[in-house]
């Protein structure tokens, strides 16, 4: 038949209405209180190189109107078909068209960062949300975070954290109200650095 064994679709969220609500609530919490680590869904089939938090995030939030860009190192047929099957989202070649862009902290080339949509002063919401897949939040170098949603300061230690990404994120913060919102997706948890958060190493 049309779906060979290599690209056979995997299951999506169980009880999608409730599960995607849960994920939405957790992502909202992570974005409202930058530095807070929230759990990713348990028992979720993950396509290709996507981890659980990134898969759950996309299944809950992507739809027909949110073009998704996958960094070339993590883009494969299975992942693409999985996302299209469960969310109907277009998977695009140009990261500038993406509402959600996904990359891997270990394997991706970060030259694309400056091509992401940052919105404009009239329409600052027309910007991308960037998901970076990492191992966890117990890295050697901690970032110090200040800004809205943070009581005095917060600490986050994504592992790994490429230098190129930190420098870009610091410049991104200065674009406010424009700019990209950044999500760190570890296997079993997730944290966010919205464009409003100031980052010090």
């Amino acid at each position: 038949m049309d779906l060979g064994p290599l690209t056979a679709p995997l299951s999506g969220l169980e009880n999608p209405a409730f599960a995607s609500n849960r994920i939405f609530r957790d992502v909202l919490e992570a974005l409202s209180r930058p530095g807070t680590v929230v759990p990713a869904p348990e028992n979720l089939e993950t396509p290709g190189k996507l981890n659980r938090a990134a898969t759950g995030f996309l299944l809950a939030l992507a739809d027909m109107e949110t073009p998704v860009w996958l960094s070339p190192d993590i883009r494969d047929i299975q992942t693409e078909k999985h996302l299209k099957f469960h969310t109907g989202c277009p998977v695009v070649d140009q990261c500038g068209q993406a509402v959600f862009a996904v990359a891997d902290a270990r394997t991706s080339n970060f030259d694309f960062l400056n091509s992401l949509a940052v919105g404009n002063p009239e329409m600052p919401h027309q910007s991308a949300t960037l998901l970076i897949m990492i191992d966890g939040f117990t890295g050697p170098a901690a970032l110090t975070l200040t800004g809205p949603g943070i009581h005095s300061k917060a600490v986050l230690a994504p592992d790994p954290i490429p230098d190129a990404l930190i420098q870009w994120a610091q410049a991104n913060q200065r674009l406010f109200p424009c700019g990209v919102d950044l999500i760190f997706a570890a296997t079993s948890s997730l944290a966010a650095l919205p464009r409003t958060t100031r980052i010090e190493v």
């Binding site: 049309d2 779906l3 679709p9 739809d63 027909m64 109107e65 078909k81 299209k84 099957f85 109907g88």
Partner: protein, 368 residues
């Protein structure tokens, strides 16, 4: 300026209870069931689906019941419901040429292949109230059957019959697989100038009364369009979609629709030769009045394309498209009944102040 006013909660709750009681009416009379509405008030259901822009006869029946038969309120309920559902995709364009025909007539050709099929119509009824419906109720009646069915492959009047002389404007054909975007009012706000795809979507979900009056105005000379109904079709068509996970389009089900194609005489202009021009109407369900009126207004709105002078409301797309939606219209018209206490207080102050000033400047007039 809007200021939240609290304190009406109990009154609102009780008003809704009273509404529910009034909706039920006299409890000695049996309650109306939604399937009765679906089966016996079919044309109301058609209208609510067309203007709600959502095809689902069961939901439309429920909306009509809940709205106490207020069809615009029912349309509102349909529009609100659809926002709760995800969009799976777009269908392939339906092919009205393969319709399972219940009715098909032409006002331009008497003898035409496929014939004049009257179908379930109020035309030729005497419009006399039938008191036996009250006295004896509806008597189950089996309609007559012919030994053979309708030929569903009958030709289209405009494309297949009028076109062979080359006397009619051509419709530009776009392939089903084309990736050219199709405007969608449920996704992007209305902008001007609006292309024909947007105009047709807007008219199809527009208020029947508004479209009817505009169509009427074009016939009375406010756009100088003399139209004939080339063909009306009512029946069911198949809907297909091509899902991401399959390599072929699949059948979803069939829907009832009404289609009207008008022909208009056209003297020609700087950009076009004398020929017949076309107006198109298409609606969910059985709704011939709306389809004919829509085709009249569609033709009137093609003025720019034809190089015609815009002289009338029905040709002014900004006027037509901005005011056709009865949910937007009812929202704005009816909102002025909601509390504007603070607004009005400031207006009162303003008028008093102006009067004081006037009295100071013209003491004599004030004294009169």
């Amino acid at each position: 300026m809007y200021v939240a006013v609290k304190g009406g909660e109990r009154a609102i709750e009780n008003a809704h209870k009273l509404l529910a009681e009034k909706r039920r009416g006299n409890p000695d009379i049996p309650e109306i069931k939604t399937d009765q509405i679906r089966e016996q008030l079919t044309l109301s259901v058609s209208r609510v689906m067309a203007e709600g822009s959502l095809y689902d006869p069961d939901l439309a029946s429920l909306a009509i019941k809940q709205a106490r038969g207020d069809l615009i309120e029912a349309v509102f309920l349909m529009r609100a419901y659809r926002t709760t559902l995800p969009r799976f995709g777009y269908s392939l364009p339906i092919d009205t040429g393969t319709m399972q025909i219940s009715r098909r007539i032409s006002a331009t050709y008497k003898d035409l292949p496929g014939g004049q099929v009257l179908g379930p119509t109020f035309d030729y009824t005497h419009r006399l109230l039938d008191f036996t419906l009250t006295a004896n109720g509806e008597e189950p009646l089996e309609a007559e059957s012919s030994s053979e069915g309708v030929d569903n492959t009958m030709p289209r009047v405009l494309d297949d019959l009028l076109n062979h002389e080359g006397l009619i404007q051509q419709e530009e054909r776009v392939s089903d697989e084309s990736h050219e975007p199709v405007g969608d009012l449920t996704r992007q706000p209305l902008e001007f100038p609006a292309d024909r795809d947007i105009r047709l979507q807007n008219l199809s979900r527009g208020d029947e009364g508004f479209i009817l009056s505009l169509g009427y105005s074009t016939q009375r000379g406010y756009a100088r369009n003399h139209a004939f109904v080339g063909e009306i079709r009512y029946g069911s068509v198949d809907v297909e979609i091509a899902p991401e996970e399959l390599d072929f389009p699949i059948h979803l089900g069939e829907i009832d629709i009404t289609e009207c194609e008008n022909v208009n005489q056209f003297k020609g202009s700087k950009t076009a030769p004398p020929q017949f021009t076309r107006g198109y109407g298409l609606t969910f369900g059985q709704n011939e009045r709306k389809a004919i009126a829509m085709a009249l207004v569609d033709r009137a709105l093609r003025d720019k394309e034809m190089g015609e002078e815009v002289t009338s409301p029905a040709q002014d797309e900004e006027f037509v498209l901005s005011h056709s939606d009865n949910i937007e219209a009812t929202g704005f018209v009816e909102h002025i009944k909601l509390p504007h206490y603070v607004d009005f207080q400031s207006e009162l102050e303003l008028v008093r102040k102006m009067r004081r000033e006037q009295a100071e400047q013209h003491p004599q007039r004030a004294a009169e």
